[in-house]
């Protein structure tokens, strides 16, 4: 069939030849007096003054029209040292020092996450970045907090320290032997990711988690992130590509709230070429010029960036369009989903159903509150019903790893085969049915090495390979704190995108201990809910 889109009606306009202002005789389109020094949208010339007032107005109006930032509000500004955040620092500073009525009223403090431990091997300059960024902030008279990225692995939340020249020494003194261990854990965690895409994705999750934790520790209710329009547009498309489309609003909207911290994107309406002009005109340089945050290798994020920037060159409205598309989305609520998706509550609990029949048996009361992903802290998006991409993938995996086909026709395929292959699938199925139907909260606890393949069956009913269900003790193994969680248990409490991360990782035990703690808490809560569900109204 012809695959041409029948609705190819919204034509994207191709780029015309960009306006050339190098000759020096092009006048500003606004004041029609000054000589043009900047070209926006490929064709509009602006003089320096008109550009700067346009630029500052855009920034201030983004904050102003939201009416969210009030006089005296404390705001924690995340400061990577890149072009965007350096410009943000500059904008905030000039906004605060203006003596007119236009003065910005909030009280900023800055936070830099020191990621030197991720790059230490390549060069020793990483440490300098932290001091460079922080001293720049301090020189303007603001407080600058600094924390090392490896603190995300710590068991107890550590408070970021105020930057001093020897912050590293003092903070290391506090957690003396700890620091190296954390570094090692973090590197181990990141190197367990098998693809570049996942490693970059995980780094980003950890960075966000740490920023949130710092805000909570320092008791800041508001956080500024310096993502600009261009990076947000790239983010929109790459998040869609890695299955995180459900959380787009968190990256695009001016204000979002995660774990009671309000996150703002004050730079969201500014394009990166505008930032370049601003920096040029003000003589500002970014501390972080190297492309550290830019992703190398063959990651999806990099691929998306190349694609969008390429398309932008051909169709200048691409990035603004993508940005606006993302801006029109909101977090989907379950009842707003299409009617074709019958609600199935079991899918929240991972692949825990035996077959489709159980879908109908589930008590809808089981899902009372919307859980958050333990890894990225955003709402779970794994409850999309029986006819969904997630469910289809699970069915595919199940089918193509176990086809217990006799006679070739209407055979029910229940459960998963055990990886060793020695087990009789039928026996397990029987066993599972028995414990599944007898009492839901019953857990059999005998484990053998390979149970992971079947432990996601019906409420984690655990069976050994050959013997089927043995003793049915009522003890939940999760109450034991130090017992590691299997990937399947963790998977129940993470969102679609984080599941991809997790599956790639193989060993969920490498995750930050606070994440694992959250798994335990959520797991226990779902157990509790299961026990009392008959009495919930």
């Amino acid at each position: 069939m012809c695959s041409v889109d029948p609705d190819e009606l919204t034509e994207m306009v191709r780029a015309t030849d960009g306006l050339d202002i190098t000759s020096g005789d092009v006048l500003c389109r606004k004041c029609k007096e000054g000589m043009a020094e900047a070209v926006l949208r490929g064709k509009d010339p602006y003089c320096r003054d008109c550009f700067l007032s346009y630029f500052e107005h855009k920034f201030r109006s983004t904050i102003g029209k939201s009416k969210q930032i009030r006089q005296g509000d404390g705001v924690l500004v995340a400061m990577s040292g890149g072009a965007s955040s350096t410009t943000l620092l500059h904008l905030i500073h000039s906004g605060l020092t203006q003596n007119s009525h236009k003065r910005l009223g909030f009280k900023p403090a800055f936070l830099h996450i020191d990621e030197s431990c991720l790059y230490e091997e390549s060069d020793g300059s990483a440490n300098d970045l932290a001091s460079k960024v922080c001293s720049e902030v301090m020189s303007l008279g603001y407080t600058c907090y600094v924390i090392s990225i490896q603190q995300v692995m710590a068991t107890e939340i550590t408070s970021p320290s105020v930057y001093t020249e020897d912050w590293q020494q003092t903070s290391q003194h506090q957690t003396n032997n700890n620091n190296e261990t954390l570094k090692k854990q973090l590197r181990e965690l990141l190197s367990s990711c098998q693809s570049d895409t996942n490693r970059h994705d995980l780094e980003e999750r950890l960075r966000t988690t740490l920023t949130l934790q710092c805000a909570q520790m320092l008791e800041y209710k508001k956080v500024f992130l310096a993502n600009n329009s261009t990076t947000i547009a790239i983010h929109i498309l790459s998040q869609v590509a890695i299955g995180r489309g459900a959380h787009l609003p968190y990256h695009v909207h001016f204000k979002t709230t995660v774990e009671e911290v309000e996150i703002y994107h004050p730079m969201r309406e500014i394009l990166d070429n505008e930032i370049r002009y601003y920096m040029k005109f003000h003589g500002v340089t970014a501390s972080q010029t190297s492309s550290r945050h830019q992703h190398q290798g063959t990651s999806i994020i990099k691929c998306t960036e190349d694609f969008l920037r390429g398309l932008q060159a051909e169709f200048p409205s691409t990035i603004p369009t993508v940005f606006r598309t993302g801006d029109k989305l909101q977090l989907s609520t379950n009842n707003s989903l299409g009617n074709s998706r019958c609600s199935s509550t079991l899918s929240v609990r991972g692949e825990s159903e035996v077959d489709h029949r159980t879908n109908t048996e589930v008590n809808p009361k089981m899902k009372l509150e919307r859980e958050s992903c333990v890894l990225c802290k955003l709402p779970l998006d794994t409850d999309q019903g029986a006819a969904s991409a997630l469910k289809a993938t699970q069915v595919s995996l199940r089918l193509s790893q176990q086809v217990a086909r006799t006679g070739g026709s209407q055979q029910k395929h229940d459960g998963k085969s055990v990886a060793s292959g020695s087990a009789n699938v039928q026996v397990i199925e029987e066993a599972v049915k028995n414990c599944g139907s007898s009492k839901k909260e019953v857990k059999s606890s005998c484990e053998s090495g390979k149970v992971s393949a079947i432990e996601d069956i019906e409420d984690s009913c655990r069976c050994s390979n050959n013997t089927g269900c043995c003793s049915t003790r009522n003890t939940s193994h999760n109450t034991k704190q130090d017992e590691p969680f299997s990937v399947d248990i963790i998977e129940k409490h993470v969102c679609y995108g984080c599941r991809i991360l997790l599956r790639d990782m193989k060993d969920g035990g490498l995750l930050p201990s606070r994440v694992l703690k959250a798994v335990g808490e959520q797991e226990r809560r779902s157990q509790m809910r299961l026990e009392i569900q008959d009495f919930l109204l």
Binding site: M1, C2, V4, D5, P6, D7, E8, L9, T10, M12, S195, T197, I236, L237, Q239, V240, A241, G243, G245, A246, L248, S299, T304, F307, L311, T321, V322, T325, G326, K328, L329, Q330, S332, T333, L337, G338, S340, C342, H356, D381, Q384, A386, A387, A389, L390, A392, V395, S396, L397, L399, S400, Q401, Q402, V403, R405, S409, H413, G421, Y496, G497
Partner: protein, 355 residues
């Protein structure tokens, strides 16, 4: 040493599934492929027993495999469906007449009756003649707009309950990306729905929504299914091509990207207060349209008036033209409007939908 089939059937694997990476033997692949489509059909409750279902058949790989598998699953699982093949003849010499031969063979092979509706019958224009008028630049707009309605009209003539189309997972992921790129928020929300229907219209569904294009080709290849694979001779350099190239790049990096994109698409929900186009009814033909006069009528109007570019320009120009037309209608030029009305009978009332 040959790789064993991952299902443990002790046969040698012949392929690696793009969707999961598992190695499968031929028989297990067939089984898995069929079961998955069956799962999609049952999970999304696409049909009810005794439904009369039209399979949109173009002769290409997707629709050929769709026809085959609908027949097979209908027999295996007793869906109780009455099936019919529905083809649209756009009138493109060297492309459509060849692919229609394939559909006619399918009619014999699967013993499903076939109905062909042609642009010539429905609109009085073949694509070849339209291309003569408009050239190769915007011809695909005509073809696409006409085809969508043609399928609905054919379905109405047959009095079917449902239409199934061969759109696969790649198509849907591509559409999600394309709608993000061009900011089409209304379609972005619609395009991941497995069934598109609204009141008074024949529901359309996509049983291959979660099926990879590559696996469809594999299935057709190993089953030695007869299909036609030539690009349309008028095939253009469409904007969709960018989305497709991007998706292919993503797939190279991570083969599950296609499903991941669909998952993202399924999770979208449009913010309150965002204006979506409201769908009304075309004043002229009674099809559902977001404009007072639907696109097909405008395009046709342009063709019949010798102003083929009419429907391609600005909406304001179209309105202007139609307004002038109304005034003229009372006068001498009424004959044109008459032919127009013959072409588009008022009795048919189907929504134009799809992506």
């Amino acid at each position: 040493m040959p790789i064993q089939c991952s299902t443990g059937c002790h046969k040698n694997a012949v392929l690696k599934r793009p969707k999961t990476g598992d190695a499968l033997c031929k028989d297990c692949f067939f089984w898995v492929f069929e079961e998955e489509v069956h799962h999609t059909i049952t999970a999304a409750k696409l049909f009810t027993p005794d439904d009369y279902v039209a399979i949109a058949a173009s002769g290409g790989k997707d629709s050929t495999v769709l026809a085959y598998i609908m027949k097979l699953l209908n027999d295996r699982y007793n869906y109780g469906l009455k099936l019919v093949l529905l083809s649209v003849d756009e009138g493109i010499t060297g492309y459509r007449d060849d692919s229609l031969e394939t559909v006619k063979r399918n009619e014999q092979q699967y013993s499903i009756p076939l109905k062909i509706v042609s642009y010539d019958e429905l609109y009085g224009w073949t694509m070849d003649r339209i291309v003569e008028q408009i050239g190769l630049k915007n011809n695909c707009t005509f073809c696409g707009v006409f085809r969508r309605q043609a399928l609905d009209r054919g379905a109405t003539l047959l009095k079917v309950d449902k239409i199934v189309t061969g759109h696969n997972a790649d198509d849907i992921a591509e559409t999600v990306i394309m709608n993000i790129l061009r900011g089409d928020i209304a379609r972005l929300q619609r395009c991941t729905a497995i069934v598109t229907a609204s009141e008074g219209t024949i529901p359309r569904s996509k049983p291959f929504k979660y099926t990879y294009e590559k696996e469809i080709v594999m299935y057709a290849y190993f089953k030695k299914l007869d299909y036609f694979s030539t690009e349309c001779i008028y095939s253009p350099n469409a904007y969709r091509g960018y989305a497709r190239a991007f998706l292919k790049d993503l797939e190279k990096i991570r083969s599950t990207s296609i499903i991941d994109v669909i998952h993202s698409g399924e999770c979208f929900s449009v913010r309150d207060g965002v204006k979506l186009p409201t769908q009304g009814i075309c004043e002229q033909c009674g099809h559902v349209s977001s404009q007072p006069v639907c696109k097909a009528c405008v395009l046709l109007e342009g063709l019949n008036k010798g102003k083929p570019r009419l429907g391609l320009g600005k909406t304001s120009k179209i309105r202007e033209h139609l307004k002038r037309n109304d005034e003229n209608l009372e006068g001498v030029v009424a004959s044109d409007a008459d032919t127009h009305k013959i072409n588009i009978p008022k009795t048919i009332n189907i929504k134009q939908l799809d992506f």
